[in-house]
Symmetry: D2
Subunit: 475 residues, 4 copies
């Protein structure tokens, strides 16, 4: 397993093509904004290397017999599924944002089930290829990035009906050695924190969409791959070097353009089997929605802690209405966590040997996240007070002219250093107003409508009807 | 284990003192209203006797080595905790109301932990007495009733501060053979469906409340015990013999007056150890709130089935807004169930060997129930339509003068027999408007405020604060 | 204007055909269940006759110049629209349930607009006929019943597509003197408290549905009209003569079958003009949804009062979490009321001279009612406690054997007579569990989905888009 | 009345002391971030000068007989109260954020009532002074800034109990000419868009707090006044000159330090009359909470327009689940607006002749805002999609290397220019993630807990109890 330092070192060796604010970034790892994101992923290496958490964060690989980071392990038993949730909750509270390494794992989990199922039907050899790739990820302790969400063009049209056929990633050429692909994937959380970009289809496909039925992996600095780091709400803070709020970690989500990228056949895990696109999507979605159940409950832990401290710092620790808000926050965290955990405990073995979670319970968790995280933000702001919107800059506090005046007036509860209050307010701003997190609360793992439809589709409505008929006396 | 028939037979042998509507009921088992409640408990016997569910509903007693009904088993492992939830969900969907046997089990679970803890402190012998009682319950496959909720008098006063000292059940006399108790317990769900009445204190107690620190069990037809069956919203239907809605089951919740009841020492499981009252209450509450997580998600299953059938019967099966409501219902059921299930999986062994659930997750489940069951009712009514309030009586449908006219006009979707639509509407009325259920959704296992406070108290708020401090850079 | 006594006298003179529980009721006014409903309507006569409220409840008829009850007045100015809301709120708090006289008024308001509009297009003479009818209602101070909701058969089919053509009320014969109609109208709140049954179509109609495009009025005891009083949740209480909770008022909602009913032409207000059915429905719905905004906020006033008294009586008056629930109740009442009131103040004059309310604000109010009334019930039960489900009967309290014991144990806060606590708990049961009210909260004035669609349809979405375009810099 | 140009010119003549990001701003009006805020206030001048809106936005001054901007008018009748809401809604939709001029008006309205009341008790002359000031504001068409919220120090202590006595603004010296004050006011929305800073106390005061019972006005560039413009979430966009989203307007909220500021007696409107602090606060709060009811419903109009356009641009215009979200947005806007409007219509004349709104309905509106605006943001993001978090910068779209690739892949629905989709997504980011708005939704006009307590305090709970008693039969 890699240490954090080795992880950073390994990223520095990559040479991805990166644009931000209209300019090319030659050394993304040294960019403070990108680095804050990389550090969040770094926590997955750090904790696995920490004596206290090593047992929880690592496992023995069934492929190599060596100890590996759980973020490269496809679950082999219920216990593995349960630990997925527990390490994600711990990480969520530890980084206070998205650690960005779950998406790659969720792709690996998905491929470990579906490549096997495709092979069973078509006598293809995707599963063996995938196992080689997985072994490579495990041995080198690599981070993966889930390239799932296509740009989609006109959403009322299917891939092959689009005016521009590239609106979903597709094969544009094939050769003996491999395939050439074109398209773009968006909301690529942590794509520069990852060594490998793992591509899955973003939706169910049908006849006519064969060129879009694609799964593969390429290094994140492959030729033709362009990472465009877009804007988020607090995106200049790390670059300015002040007012970050979360002094350690942040998140960014590039758009990745696949501008004629070559993929060798040994890295292709699906190519043309349209009817399996739906399974890829539903497996990935279920895994990823459940990952959120862990990390977002962890993030709420950190938010709740911040709210409790703001009560201490403002002198409102005894306000019963604030206590009710804290209870709401705890309740939401435990709900998201409880359903996610239950999804693991109620998991089952798939033909390939990988364990799969209960999709109904996983989606039940995600629906709460999509609805309630904005409520968490609201409660956090309510408890913290108006400075979430307009706290003066650290530069003002450091100003020889007005710094001492500001510190005089920002003083809160007796006995609390004014600096702590200022720092905590800044953290609250980050946790409440960071758009990269806010949007993932809602759209991560598919839109809320998708979560709801999945819940319905996976439920046994016939059984429910039978119950009602019997009680009503209808034969 | 008893069959349903043996169960009914065993109840008929009891001679409890029962009042209803101002009159004494000499043979309560034959009263159709009481019988509908007894039948719901009967389902716990029926399913344990059913080949398909026998495995799930029964277990081997660690006390006798014999196969026993799970409703007399104190949990010996995580699996036992998990099955608590699963059998409750199944029963909830099977009876469409409360089956009334979980409360007794939750008392047994509680006593199996706390009597041991008291003995450890005081070298008393409650645990041995309790084990004898437990064995008796198991061997005879008896149902217990949880006598927990006192009348409470003025709620701003503690037990010993009340004007009338009997507002909480208390010892009024002691002798070599046993104790005499006086007081009243309310909301005694299924007290006439039970063989034994198991008494626990209803709140934490303090010095001065020694006479109230009581736990014991007496047969439900003990001398001095008076069951007063109060009114609920649909309480005349079974008695009239029409318009029951749920043609099989119902619920009733007497007030039980302990008018100087003698309890022999071998049935006394706590007497005077005030500081253990809080533990009794918190254990029982946690277990019972979790039981609700099972049965209420099962009840929602039946409600969802009814809603889906109403869509079929009304011709609205394709209305997307109704489908959204169905999804809400499923989501609530799975949330309550998921948190409850996670509470079991995350349980732990107590010193006595009994397993205890995670109280945070159990309370997280109950808070949803208390808030969302009324929303389930609302959605069910919304989907079903206005006849939930004013469907003509079966007697009208049978009337030679207007019956055929009514059947003509009550016809719904093409191909659906009008009788089915009428029956299902009647079931919906029962599931939506039965006050015995509605109130238990809110107050069962303590009031919503109690659920919230427990959640807060049992959470690790210090850890949450530490997370926030580290991220904000506060030492 | 009539006094209450004159009103009751006038009802006794009618000879409607009524069935209940399978039997014919020869004297419905003397049936305690029906009478409790009639008394609620009686309050509209009582308050208009009360010196304190006379000014508010009455107005000068523009047709006759005489003072009339506002429940027969079509609004002639904004002030009239505003008073609609205020008298409904007052009545809602005064009767604690539905007073049942608004529906007839809402029909009169609708007809006073639409008959004029039809005449303008077709040179028909509906408006004159209607004015005669209105004058008759005013002069005799009569109550009307809104016969709007058809049974509808298969809801996926339009009226003329139904297997049985009578699933929507229709003309089956025409003569020089009038028309013969057949069909059934359901959820006919207070049909036996009304002198006249006023029929409007229940939905928009299209070509082919001409026979269904009908509006007319007939006396409630017209030959061929059959009132079938269905069941509601607490429907036996008045008949038993105990445990009514609301000791004065109740509600019932018959199904009315039109078994070949003759309507003379002078009472026909629309016949065949299909394209005006939509306007009839939308006008009536808007008026009626707004009426709810008044009476339901008034009902919440009574519920809030009951909750506050339960706090006093239980000894929980200082519980801050209960106070928060009271605030929720007040907030909901004021929201429903505020939007309804604004709908009046923002009303406008229609061509006939009648004033019409703002439909967007009226529907905004109703959507809150449909969603929040069940929450009001939940909060009321939460504050009141478990006895809402199982309070012993008055007959038990009167029992020589157990009455005094029950009274001893039902005692609440110091200084509060036990009788008051018992009475208030019984009232809470009535306000929380009366299905005739509960279902009207949701389906009154059309289903929640209808309220939402109306809101959307009546809103200026184009303006909203223009705002966004300008701010984004899109030409 | 001033034109926008004259307004900007007048601001340029002021020389306020301003700090931002640790540096002194010599020419704040030319700073693009500040200017975007000033422009929002400018809209209040622009629309009053626009033929179409002139009638709505202006009125005749009762003091001068001249036509004045309604933002300098204290309401003289119900119609004036109603127009407050209507111009605020229009402005909210026009600027898509806060226009920042209502707070000053709300101070004027408050002072026009309370100075009169103080004079009546103490025979002081505040009201005359205030009228002079008001005339000055009207004649010169000036904008005012509400300096209400003190820093508050330890919130569990009253002003005079604080360690540092300056935690609430106070008099530190008095002379014949005037007073010297010290302290700081926070969240000073648009303090640099205003000509005058109007100070009111922030809370009820008691004996011992005399020095804090202060109301006065000073020019915003008075000596000793320091405006510190703190950070908000998107605060660098205008400065960078790209990616603003809202291309016209924004909001900023400085902290203002009163570092020994002199106020001449003719500008002092309260000084020492502690018992009137509560009235100042409650009047101002009621007015300001109601102002929000107008502008926030207008902002939702713009948000709803953006959501509808995103549906058009993404190709999801037919998704019924999105339409439901639009309906939620409309419903919230109309609820906030309806209650606010009703508060005006139900207003009453105060002794000074100024009209005051109904505080119950005003607070009912604000409670919805505080709870629902975050839900509006959530729905807007849900409808718009993931690009709200990570849309590439305009600089990327303009890049010769990747600009055309990005435009290719950002194309949405057929027929929609890609530029429009990009612009609208950027506007959505602004409306969803601007912390200056988000926090005002919650804390503007006092915290949510304050809104709730006011609602309770102002309601007639005794009447509600009487209703319930009568219905229950309790004398």
């Amino acid at each position: 397993m890699k240490t954090v330092e080795q992880y950073l070192e390994s990223l520095r060796k990559l040479k991805p093509t990166v644009y931000m604010f209209g300019e090319k970034l030659e050394d993304p790892v040294s960019n403070p904004r990108i680095l804050a994101g990389i550090n969040a992923t770094g926590a997955t290496y750090e904790l696995a290397d920490n004596q206290k958490y090593r047992e929880l964060f690592s496992a023995i690989s069934p492929l190599t017999g060596d100890r590996i980071n759980r973020f490269t392990l496809t679950p082999q038993c219920i216990e593995d599924l349960v630990k997925r949730v527990k390490i994600n909750r711990l990480l969520g509270s530890y980084v206070g944002t998205c650690h960005q390494r779950c998406t790659g794992l969720d792709c690996l989990c998905t491929l470990s089930i579906v490549t096997y199922d495709i092979d069973r039907k078509y006598e293809t050899h995707y599963y063996d290829r995938f196992k080689e790739f997985l072994k490579y990820m495990q041995v080198n302790d690599l981070a993966g990035n889930a390239s799932v969400t296509d740009v989609k063009g006109d959403r009322s049209l299917s891939p092959h009906e689009q005016d521009d056929k590239d609106m979903y990633l597709r094969v544009v050429d094939r050769s003996k050695k491999g395939i050439i692909v074109r398209g773009a994937k968006v909301h690529q959380t942590g794509s520069l924190s990852a060594h490998e970009v793992i591509v899955l289809p973003t939706r169910a496909l049908q006849k006519g969409d064969e060129d879009y039925a694609l799964a593969f992996a390429v290094p994140s600095d492959t030729k033709g791959l362009i990472h465009v780091v877009g804007r988020n709400s607090l995106d200049t803070r790390e670059i300015e070097g002040v007012d970050c709020g979360n002094i350690r970690y942040s998140k960014y989500c590039p758009t990745i353009i696949f501008d004629e990228v070559f993929v060798p056949w040994e890295r292709v895990f699906m190519c043309g089997e349209v009817e399996f696109a739906a399974e890829m999507v539903s497996r990935f979605s279920a895994f990823h929605r459940q990952s959120h159940g862990g990390c977002k409950s962890g993030k709420i832990d950190a938010m709740t802690g911040a709210a409790l401290l703001m009560m201490d710092y403002n002198g409102t620790a005894k306000a019963t209405h604030h206590k009710e808000k804290i209870i709401e926050m705890i309740h939401t965290a435990e709900t998201i966590y409880g359903c996610s955990l239950a999804a693991s405990y109620e998991g089952r073995r798939e033909p390939s040997g990988t364990f799969f979670i209960d999709p109904v319970l996983a989606n039940a968790s995600k629906i709460h996240e999509g609805k309630q995280m904005s409520e968490m933000v609201r409660l956090l702001i309510d408890v913290s007070g108006g400075f979430v919107a307009d706290l003066p800059s650290e530069r003002d506090f450091d100003s020889p002219r007005i710094g001492s005046l500001l510190k005089k007036y920002m003083k809160g509860a007796v006995g609390v250093p004014v600096e702590n209050r200022i720092k905590m307010l800044r953290l609250v701003e980050k946790m409440a107003m960071e758009s990269a997190d806010t949007v993932s609360d809602i759209h991560g793992g598919g839109s809320p409508a998708a979560h709801r439809l999945t819940l319905f589709r996976e439920s046994d409505t016939e059984y429910k009807k039978q119950c009602a008929k019997r009680l009503a006396g209808i034969e």
